[in-house]
Amino acid sequence: MKLIKWTGLVIFLAAFSLFTGVFFLSQFKLTNEVLEETIADESKRNAFSKEAATYKGNEYASNFVFVRELSATFERVNEKALKTYSISEAEINTLVERSSGDGQIEFSLSLIDELFGGEDEINQYKRKTFTDYGNWLDGRQFNTAEELKTQLTNVVDNIRKYGIINQKGFDKYQVKNLKYAIAKASSYGPVKDQPILFIFLTFIASIIGALLYILPKVKEGPPGIKNNRIYFDPMKNVGWLGILTGTYLIAFYIFLYYYPEYMTNWIIMVDPVSFFLKGSAGGRFFLYGFIYTLCILVMGVRMIIKYRHSKYQIIRTISVMFFQTAFAFLIPEILLRLNKPYFDFKNIWPLDYDFFFNNELDALINSGGLGIFMLGWGIGLILLGVPIFVYFFGKRWYCSWVCGCGGLAETLGDPYRQLSDKSLKAWKVERILIHFVLVFAIVMTAGVLYTYFTGVSEIFGFSTYSIRETYGAWIGAGFAGVVGTGFYPFMGNRVWCRFGCPLAAYLGLVQRFKSRFRITTNGGQCISCGNCSTYCEMGIDVRWYAQRGQNIVRSSCVGCGVCSAVCPRGVLNLENADEGSRFNEPILIGNDSVKLSQ
């Protein structure tokens, strides 16, 4: 049995190392075909091609070096475009000079026509852009030449920033997308030639190794709570292994969200799966969804084995495995194959923070009956699904039975649940932070909808686009991804759910004020041992309530049921019952001397 386990571990580590190696194993060659495939605009393509001439056709063995070349090329193209198409300082000075006369300074657009009167492309471009960006200056009078110069310079700067870079060069979104697309298309070598072989050597071998390691646990003694040696384990008590794992996860998320151009080899590897499911190549989020689902499935098996004495845990784990595989992964991909909008039927705003983004709304509205149904379904979940289900079952129906973030936390994250901070201070931070994110999400969405319906993109001097961008980068990617999962080995498996998730905040408010759910404590049986608090992934000091005979009614409780499972004296039970009995008086049964409020 031990042999099987160790064999599994070796296979897993080998496969996982190979997976990591694939990241570095990439080779690149930029060709004209690649550029034709990736840059649609011919003049831009030519500009890029010209600047990339020095290394086109060269072979690169490092994604870092190759991406650096691409970045430099984009910069050069942009610089050149600016130099060619921008109105120069000398030209601005000329304009100022020609505006002055008779002690009066007046600007006129005719000066532009005069100065850039040529019919070549460059003069035409300068004339047109200045007229577009600076026509409001026509006929304006100025007190000093400096004043006019400042205004002209501002206009020219705007043209550089929003006009030239966009039309003749590459703006930052294009650069990000193209770096990724070019890197992916330029890639060649064993992974590109044999992706399926590599799927077997990395993913399939990892799964086999992990299962060989996990399955023998069934034979390691009778069912029951098996938390032996958790606090001696370098993986589970922020030891070297935990720190290493956390660092790996954080790095993974940073590449995924901010630098996908480096991870093209991994994406190429899962392309066959993507083609199989939706008939087209997958992007970084397909890779992410694929790995995510595998983690939940494999670690779900571990969870089921570990808690096999508890039917609640078994059913709950099967539920999160099902919802991740079917609802989050397969159904959206199949919808794409059927030419329908990508839609995760179990994701709910404001966790699904881009649900009301204009492109998402348009996609749904323009997809006929199914799209309208999806829109109605999503809004129905927000307005009816959340309050009704939380009223009957508590927020657990979502957080620990359905949600993808919860699913990962309850499976991959289970070994780290004891690392959550139980202090009163942490609770205070939690309440401020999570409700702040909820308010942020609401404000951000309100701005997005305002822009959607009115077409105005500014409110109170803030651009709704930059608000949504900030939310996406800091909350959607940074908090939920990098911190939310990357910090599993440091702060427990529910960092995002506890401190950040705006949907959890919403569910929690309903749970706290209008629900039949509570954790009941069993009379006077508590011995204050602390297992419940220790293994509460949400950092609730469960023992505080249990030892005073008080039901636990907390907005953050996700109802995972582990406190009840680890309790050695049968003190805790998750229950739905009439609302009136939720907030009981804290009295411990068994003492007839006096009924003391604890």
Binding site: P222, I225, N227, S310, G524, G570, D592, S593
Partner: protein
Amino acid sequence: MKKIVIIGNGISGITAARHIRKLSDHQITIISAETDHFFSRTALMYIYMGHMKYENTKPYEDWFWKKNRIDLLRAYVEKVDFNSKSLQLANGDTVPYDDLILATGSKSNKFGWPGQDLKGVQGLYNFQDLESMEEHTQGVDRAVVVGGGLIGVEMVEMLMSRNIKVTFLVREPSFWNIVLPPEESDLINRHILEHHVDLRLSTELKEILADDDGRARAVITNEGEEIKCQFVGLTVGVSPNVDFLRDSELELDRGILVNEYLETNIPNVYALGDCAQFRQPFPNRRPIEQVWYTGRMMGEAVSRTVCDIKTAYKPGIWFNSAKFFDIEYQTYGHVWSQLKENEDQFYWEHDSGKKCIKFVFDKNDRTLLGINTFGIRLRHEVFNRWLSEKRDVNFVLENLREANFDPEFFKRHEEEIVESYNAQHPENQVILKKGGLLSRIFA
């Protein structure tokens, strides 16, 4: 405002302090030589097993004591001078008091076995025992645990968690059968064996042998068998920790003698918890009860008396719980190891042999007297009510669904239990009250 000094920071002393603070503004000082802060003694095993760290076993955060103006003093009390009302500390200081509460707990028993003081031989009661066990089990691969009680089986479980092979010597013919009836005791015997413990029933320790370094190397049983080991756990009960009070005016027997108000023979001196011994034991109760719950209740009661609301300690319906490896145990009311003259019983055991439930009732009027449950969680509140209302066993079985406290989706056994009861008692048929899944969700 008076100065109240409490010796001992276990559950009894701490509960007293907390409730005194709720009731008054008296100055409160808790002295302990064991740890700086209150921790849950029942959780010691989990620290050794790696389920928790010491930090996790503290029921209150460290700021709690200052906030509630409870002074904590880490010191060892050597002597109490009851005349001058002051304590003599080992570090030479003296601490005066107006009221003194003795909550000094227990110490592990040793019965004069040869070799009982060798290195690697110890009991398990306090934090220092845990540290010693940690130190003396490094690199050990075989251990012997002596004594078939709750601490014994805990210690076996602890050692097994470190992959140490354990021989478990139990003097009685079945595990803990001075408390558990034969069926339940046998169920636990089987479970201990299922965990590959070398369980030796009806076997006593005769002697512990030393190696050249003065460390245990083997034990010899009363049958003359030598069992090699590098660690010996002696878990043969505990006695009140009162040696430092001997030869004083304080009246002692095995423990500190107290009346129902937890008052000793000296005014303004109280004793409670493990170290207290009632002059007049309560009906069906022992004079010294070394149980977490009773310690806590005594703390609740004494806090009022100290604050001039004189309150007798009046334990309610007996309850207790434990866990043997994977099997949880709860008991409500009285289930004796042998049925008494007026008692009858109904016992049900699940096919798995790992769950059972026993009802003891009065032969004549069928009033429920007590219940034991293994592997099924029951509601304390419900059984407390039924026992105080003196419900008969038929009523209890009819309403058994109401008492279940197992998590959702767990297999329920009420139907089987009632069926089995009806088969055994044809003259007393019970019809189980309904309660399906839906009615539970929408109750």
